[in-house]
C-alpha cells in the first residue's frame, strides 16, 4: 500500500511492534492506532513488568503476616497493603484495556479471570472486615485466589500453557486413575477377607486390616511405598505365603500403574503441547507477514513485494536498539542470500527467529599491561609465566590443590594447624586469580559468558572477607558469630565445586542442566501456585492444632511431648518429633507440603493431622498426593526426560546452520574453542558503531548457552514436525484464520 514512498514513522513503529511480538512470542491483539501502539510499547516496558511482579510477590507474601502469621501485622495494615496491590492490578488491567479493542478485551478469559479475582477479593475483604468488627468468626476465603493472578497476567503465558496441557490430559489420566482405584479397592477387599478375621496385630498392637476404609488408605499409602514393609510384616510373620499378596500388589500398583501414569501424562502433555507450539509458530508467521505488509514495496508493476535494506535497517534499530552495526549487517547478509539489496516475504519472516539466535561479537584485545609496559610484559620471563598459566598442568595443579583442601575442610577445624592452613589455601586461590588476570585480558576474563571466572572470584573474595571478619572477632575475644562461620564453611565447600568444570564429561552434563534450567522455572511457578492454594486451605483447616515448642521455650507445658495436643499422645507423629511440621504459618506449611511431595512418611503426617481434627482430613493429603505427585511431578519428569534427550543429541536448527555458514563465508568466523578450558577472547555486543579500524579484529560466534527461552526450547522440541509444515502450509498459515486461544487473526 505504501508503494515506492518513504515509510512513515508510525508504520515503522507498528511494524517494529509486530516483529518484536513475533520475536518474543507475544500474542496480543492490540489496536493499531498510533496512540494505542505507544501505550502498548509502554505496557511491555520492563519497569512496569517488574513492578507488577513485585506487587504479586507482595500480595502472596501477605500470607506471612496474616492470621496465622509468622510476623504478625495488625489486620488494617495487611488490608491496606492488599488494597494497594489490588489497585496496581486494576491499573495494569485498565492499561491493557486501553491497548486492545473493547470486544477483544471482554472475549479474553484471562481478563475476566483477573476482574473476577479482584472483585471477589474486594467483597471478601469487606465481609471479613464487617464480620470481624462485629466479633464474629471470619475467614479470608479469597486468599486461595491470589496465586491465580500469576497464571492470568499477560506475562504468565508459559504457566497458562502448562495448566492447559494438564487440563487437556485430565480425561485420559482420569480413566487410568479410576482403573487404579478399582484395583486398590479390589485388593483392599481381598485383604479384608484374608487378614481381617485372623486376629493379627501390628507392631504397635493395634488390630490389623479389620476396617475397610483404613485398609484402603493403608494400601494407597503402600502404592507410594511410604509404609513398606511395615504394613506387610504382620501378615508375613503369620505366613510366608501372604507376602505373595503384597508382592503382587506392589508389582501391579506401584510399578506398572505408576509407569502407566507417567506414560499417559507424558503422551498427553506432549501431544497438546505440540499443538499449542504449532499455533504459536503460525501466530508468529502471521505477525511477521503483517509487518511485511506494512513495510513492503513493489519495485515494478506485478513484481513480488520486497523490503529494502534501508527500511530493514530502520526497523532493526527500533526492534533491537542495542544491536551492533556489524551484527545487523550479518543478519542482513543471511536474509539477503543472493545479494539483491532487497528481501522477499519468506526471508523476512525468518527475521524473528534470526533475532532469537544469540550472536556474540568476538574481539581480540590487547592486555592493558602490554599497552602500558610492553617491554616488561613481552619479556621472556613474563611470556613463560603466561605459557605456564595457559598450560593444562596449571588447571590440574589447582584441581589437586582443591582436593587437598577438601580433605583439610573435612578435618577438625579446631586444630590450630588446620585452621591456619585455610589462610594458605586462600592465598593460593587469590594467587591463581591474579595469575590468570596477568595472563588474560581482564575485561575479557570477566565477560558475561565466563560463568566460572565470576564464580571463582566471588567465592574467593567473599571467603576472604568472611574469614578476616571471623578472625578479627575471634582475636578481639568478642562473641564468635556462628552465622559468619556458617557462611565461611559454605563458601569453602562451594569453592570445591569448581573441580567439576575441569572434566569434560561432567561439563557436558552440567551445561545441559543449565540449559534446561530456565524452562524448569515454569514448573517452579506451577508448584508455587499449587503449594500456595494447599497451604492457605491447610492453614485454615489445621492452624494451631499442633504446636512446636522450640529448644528455647520453657519446659513447663505438660503437652510438650505430644506437640501440645493430647490427641497425639503415643502417636508416631509425636514420637518421631514431627511437631514443627504444622500449618501454623506460611513457611512451615510450605515445608509440610515439601515433605508430602517427597512422599516418605506422608501417612504419619496425615494421620497426625487426622488425629487432631477428623479422620476425613486424610482427604486433603490424598488430594495433594494425586495433584502434585501423580500429575505435576510426572509432567516434570516427562519434561526433563524429553528436554534432556533433546539436548543430549544436540543438533543445530536450519537457521542457525545458515547463519553459521554465512559467518564462515564472510571469513569473520571465530576459530572454534580449541580447548574449552582456555579462556576465549569474546565479548558481548557493545555498540561501537563505525569503528572501522577495529573491524578487522571483529569476529562472530553463535552462543549456544544463553538467551534460550522456553518457547525456543519447545519449538525446537517439535522442530521435526513443524519444519514440514514450514514450507508446505506456509501460505495457509500466513493468510488463513487460525484458532489460537489468545490471538485471533484479523
Amino acid at each position: 500500500m505504501n508503494g515506492m514512498n518513504k515509510i512513515c514513522k508510525e508504520d515503522l513503529d507498528l511494524a517494529a511492534v509486530y516483529v518484536s511480538d513475533a520475536q518474543h512470542n507475544r500474542n496480543i491483539f492490540f489496536d493499531t492506532t498510533p496512540q494505542a501502539v505507544r501505550l502498548y510499547l509502554q505496557y511491555h516496558r520492563w519497569p512496569l513488568c517488574m513492578l507488577l511482579y513485585f506487587f504479586i510477590t507482595l500480595d502472596l507474601l501477605l500470607a506471612v503476616a496474616e492470621e496465622p502469621a509468622l510476623l504478625p501485622l495488625p489486620v488494617w495494615a495487611t488490608m491496606l497493603l492488599e488494597l494497594l496491590c489490588l489497585g496496581v492490578f486494576a491499573g495494569r488491567l485498565v492499561h491493557y484495556a486501553k491497548v486492545i479493542p473493547r470486544d477483544k478485551f471482554w472475549k479474553d478469559p484471562k481478563n475476566i479471570c483477573i476482574l473476577l479475582i479482584l472483585l471477589l477479593t474486594l467483597m471478601d475483604m469487606l465481609v471479613f472486615a464487617a464480620l470481624r468488627s462485629s466479633g464474629f468468626l471470619a475467614i479470608r476465603c479469597s486468599r486461595v485466589l491470589r496465586p491465580l493472578l500469576l497464571v492470568n497476567i499477560t506475562e504468565g503465558r508459559q504457566l497458562r500453557r502448562a495448566f492447559r496441557s494438564i487440563r487437556n490430559a485430565l480425561p485420559q489420566i482420569f480413566y487410568v486413575f479410576l482403573l487404579f482405584i478399582f484395583s486398590v479397592l479390589m485388593f483392599s477387599l481381598m485383604a479384608l477377607k484374608l487378614f481381617g478375621k485372623r486376629g493379627l496385630r501390628t507392631v504397635e498392637g493395634r488390630p490389623y486390616f479389620t476396617n475397610f476404609l483404613n485398609i484402603v488408605f493403608d494400601l494407597y499409602v503402600l502404592v507410594t511405598t511410604a509404609n513398606s514393609p511395615d504394613i506387610m510384616m504382620p501378615a508375613y510373620n503369620a505366613s510366608s505365603f501372604f507376602a505373595l499378596f503384597f508382592v503382587v500388589y506392589i508389582l501391579v500398583n506401584t510399578y506398572i500403574f505408576m509407569s502407566v501414569f507417567l506414560a499417559v501424562v507424558y503422551n498427553n502433555y506432549k501431544k497438546y503441547l505440540k499443538e499449542e507450539v504449532r499455533q504459536l509458530v503460525r501466530a508468529k508467521r502471521h505477525k511477521m507477514a503483517r509487518a511485511f505488509a506494512i513495510l513492503q514495496e513493489r519495485r515494478a508493476e506485478g513484481a513480488e513485494p520486497v523490503v529494502t535494506h534501508g527500511t530493514w535497517n530502520q526497523l532493526l534499530r527500533l526492534v533491537q536498539p542495542d544491536i551492533s552495526d556489524a551484527h545487523r549487517e550479518l543478519l542482513w547478509s543471511v536474509s539477503d542470500d543472493q545479494n539483491k539489496g532487497v528481501i522477499g516475504k519468506v526471508a523476512f519472516v525468518h527475521l524473528a527467529d534470526l533475532l532469537n539466535i544469540q550472536v556474540i561479537t568476538v574481539k581480540s584485545r590487547l592486555h592493558p599491561l602490554q599497552t602500558c609496559l610492553p617491554s616488561l610484559y613481552l619479556s621472556p620471563v613474563s611470556r613463560l609465566l603466561c605459557k605456564m598459566v595457559q598450560h593444562r598442568a596449571f588447571v590440574v595443579l589447582f584441581d589437586v590443590i582443591i582436593l587437598v583442601n577438601a580433605v583439610f575442610i573435612g578435618l577438625d577445624e579446631e586444630d590450630p594447624l588446620i585452621s591456619k592452613s585455610e589462610w594458605f589455601f586462600l592465598v593460593l586461590y587469590l594467587l591463581e586469580i591474579l595469575l590468570k588476570l596477568y595472563t588474560f585480558e581482564p575485561r575479557t576474563f570477566y565477560s558475561r559468558h565466563n560463568f566460572w571466572n565470576w564464580f571463582d572470584t566471588i567465592i574467593v573474595v567473599s571467603a576472604l572477607i568472611a574469614t578476616v571478619i571471623n578472625s578479627a572477632m575471634k582475636s578481639s575475644g568478642a562473641y564468635t558469630s556462628r552465622q559468619i562461620l556458617d557462611i565461611v564453611f559454605i563458601l569453602r565447600v562451594l569453592r570445591l565445586v569448581r573441580v567439576v568444570d575441569s572434566i569434560k564429561s561432567f561439563r557436558i552434563i552440567i551445561n545441559t542442566l543449565i540449559k534446561i534450567g530456565p524452562t524448569m522455572l515454569t514448573f517452579a511457578q506451577l508448584i508455587i501456585v499449587v503449594y500456595y492454594i494447599f497451604a492457605v486451605v491447610g492453614m485454615e483447616l489445621f492452624k494451631g492444632r499442633i504446636r512446636f515448642f522450640g529448644p528455647d521455650s520453657p519446659d513447663l507445658d505438660p503437652d510438650r511431648g505430644w506437640c501440645g495436643n493430647p490427641a497425639l499422645k503415643g502417636s508416631s507423629f509425636a514420637k518421631l518429633g514431627y511437631c514443627k511440621n504444622n500449618f501454623n504459618n506460611l513457611i512451615s506449611s510450605f515445608m509440610v507440603l515439601v515433605e508430602l511431595t517427597v512422599v516418605n512418611q506422608w501417612h504419619v503426617l496425615s494421620s497426625g493431622f487426622a488425629a487432631v481434627t477428623h479422620v476425613s482430613a486424610r482427604i486433603f493429603f490424598i488430594l495433594f498426593h494425586v495433584t502434585v505427585v501423580i500429575i505435576i511431578i510426572n509432567i516434570f519428569v516427562a519434561f526433563v526426560l524429553e528436554a534432556f534427550l533433546l539436548e543430549y543429541s544436540l543438533e543445530k536448527s536450519v537457521l542457525q546452520t545458515s547463519l553459521e555458514k554465512k559467518i564462515e563465508e564472510l571469513k569473520l568466523g571465530a576459530a572454534q574453542e580449541v580447548d574449552d578450558n582456555l579462556v576465549v577472547a569474546m565479548e558481548t555486543p557493545d555498540n561501537e558503531l563505525g569503528d572501522s579500524e577495529k573491524k578487522t579484529s571483529l569476529m562472530f560466534k553463535i552462543s549456544s548457552t544463553r538467551n534460550r527461552t522456553v518457547d525456543a526450547l519447545l519449538q525446537r522440541m517439535f522442530e521435526a514436525d513443524l519444519d514440514q509444515e514450514d514450507f508446505t502450509d506456509e501460505d495457509e498459515a500466513l493468510n488463513t484464520n487460525f484458532d489460537n486461544p489468545t490471538f485471533n487473526s484479523i
Copy 2:
C-alpha cells in the same frame, strides 16, 4: 544351481530351517550337511527346550535345599541333583557342538561361558566335598554362577540383549553417577561443617551429623527419600533456615539427578537396542536370501530367479505343518500380488514376517441345539431369549449384580443372611454362563481367544466347588480349614474383576498392558538373575545372624525381642519387628531383596544387618540399590514408557496392512467386531484340509493380541528407522557381511 530341476528333499529341509530360523529370529550358524540339519531340527524341538528349562529351574531351586536351607536335604542329595543338572547342560552343549562347525563353536563367547560355568561348578563341588569331609569350613562359591546359565543358553537371546544394552549404557551412566556422588559428597561436607558442631541430637538421642561417613550414608538414603523427613527434623527444629539445605539437596539430587539417570539410561538403552534390532533384521533377510538361493529357479536365461508356487507350498508345509490350506493360499496371494504363479526375491524375503502375523480362521458354526432340536431352538421364545442375552442390558444387569455382590462380600460373612446370599449370587453367575452357552455356540464360546469367558467359567466353577466343600465341612462339624475359606474369598473377589471388561476405556488400557506383558518377562528374568546372585551372596554373609521366632515357637529365648541377636537391642530393626527379613533361606532372602527394591526403610534393614556383622555390610545394600533401583528399574520404566506410548498410538505395519487388504479383496474378510462384548465366532487353525463344503463359511481375521514376540515388539518400536533401510540398503544387507555378534555371514 538347481536350474529347472525338481528340488531334492535335503535342500528343501535346509531352506525350511533357514525360513524357520528367520521367523523365530534365531541366529545360529549351523552346518549345512543333511545330518547336521537333522540334529539342528532336533535341537529346537520343544520337549528338549522344556527339559533344559526344567533342569535350570531345578538347579536354581537347589538353593532352597542347600545350607542355609528352607527344606534341608542331605548334602549328598543336593550334590547328586546338581551333578545330574550339570550332565544335562553338558549334553545340551555337546548336541549344540555337533550342529555347528567346530571353529564357530569355540568363537562363540556363550559356549565358553557355559563350559567355564560347568567346569568351575565341578571344581567347586570337589573342593567343597573334600573340605567338608575333612571338617573344614567350606563355601559353595559357584552358586552365584547358576543364574548365568539362563543368560548363556541359546534360548536366552532376549536376556543377553538386555544385558548387552545395560553394559553398553554403563560408561554414560558412570559419568552421571560420578557427578551425583560428587554432589552427595559436597553436600555431606557442608552438612558436617554446618551441623556437626552444634551439639544437635536425633529423636533417638544419638549425636546428629558428626561422622562424615555416616553423613554420606544418611544423605545417600535421603536421595531415595527413605529417611525423609526424619533426617531433617533435628536441624529444622534448631532453625527453620536449615530446612533450605535439605530442600536444595532433595531438589538437586532426588528430583534432578534421578530424572537425569532415567534420561541417560533410557537414551542409551534405546540407542543400542536400535542397533541390535537393525542387525537382527539384516540377519533375518540374510537367512531368507539363503533359503531363496536354494529354492530359486530361472524360468528363462537371464531372467530374474523366482520360486514357484509348488516349491513354496512344499516349503510352508515343512516350516509350519499345522497351517491350513486356506491360510497358506492367503499368504501366497499376498506374496504373489500380480498373480504370476512365481515370486521374486523381495516378496520371498517377506515370508518370515508374514508367518509372524497371526491369522485366525473364523468359522460360523451352527449351535448344536439347532442341529438336534431345530424346532425348539428356533421357536419365538427361544429366539427372544437369545436376543435378550445378546442385548447390552444383559451385560449391564450382571455388572450391577457384581457390584451388589461386592458390597455383600465387604459385609461380615458371619451374619447368616449374608453367608446365604453367597449361594444366591453363585446361582446367578451359573445361570449367566448357562444362558450364554445356550445362545452362543459352545466351541466358539470357549475358543482360545475368549479370555474372559474362560476366566468367568473357571472362577465360578472353582468358587462353587470350594463353597460346597467348605459348607460340607462346616455342617459336618469338622475342622473348618482357613485355607479353603481363603481360596473362596480370593475367588469371590476375583470375580469382581470382570466389571473392568465392560467399560471400553478400561479395556483399552488393560489390553495394552496384556500386550506388553510378554515383553516384561525378559525383565522378570533379568530381575531373577540379579536377585539370585545377591541372595546367594547375602546368604553367605548374613545367614543365621538374625533369627525369627514364629508365633508358634515357645517364648523362652531371652533374645526373642531383638531377633535373637543382642547386637540389635534397641535398634529400629528390632523395634519395627523386621526379624523375618533375614537371609536365612532363599525365600526370605528374595523377600528382603523385594523390600530393598521398593526402597522404603532400606536404611533400617541395612543398618540392622550392619549391626549384626560390620558397618561395611552397608556396601552390599548400596550396591544392590545402584544395580537394581538406579539401573534396572529405570530401564524397566523407560521400556514401559516406550512400549505403552507405542501401543497407545497403535498403527499397523506395512505387511499387516497388505495382508488385510488382500483378505478384504478376497471377500473372505470377517466383519469387524461390532460390539467387542458380543462373542465373535472365531476359531484357531485346525487342519481341516480340503473340506470344501465348509469353505464358504471360512473367514480370516488378523489377531492383534496373540503371538506377539519380544522381537516383533522391538522391531516395531524402531520400525520407522528400519523401514528406510528396508528398501535402500536391501541388496547391501542381503549380500554383504554384517557384524552380528552371534551370526556370521558365510
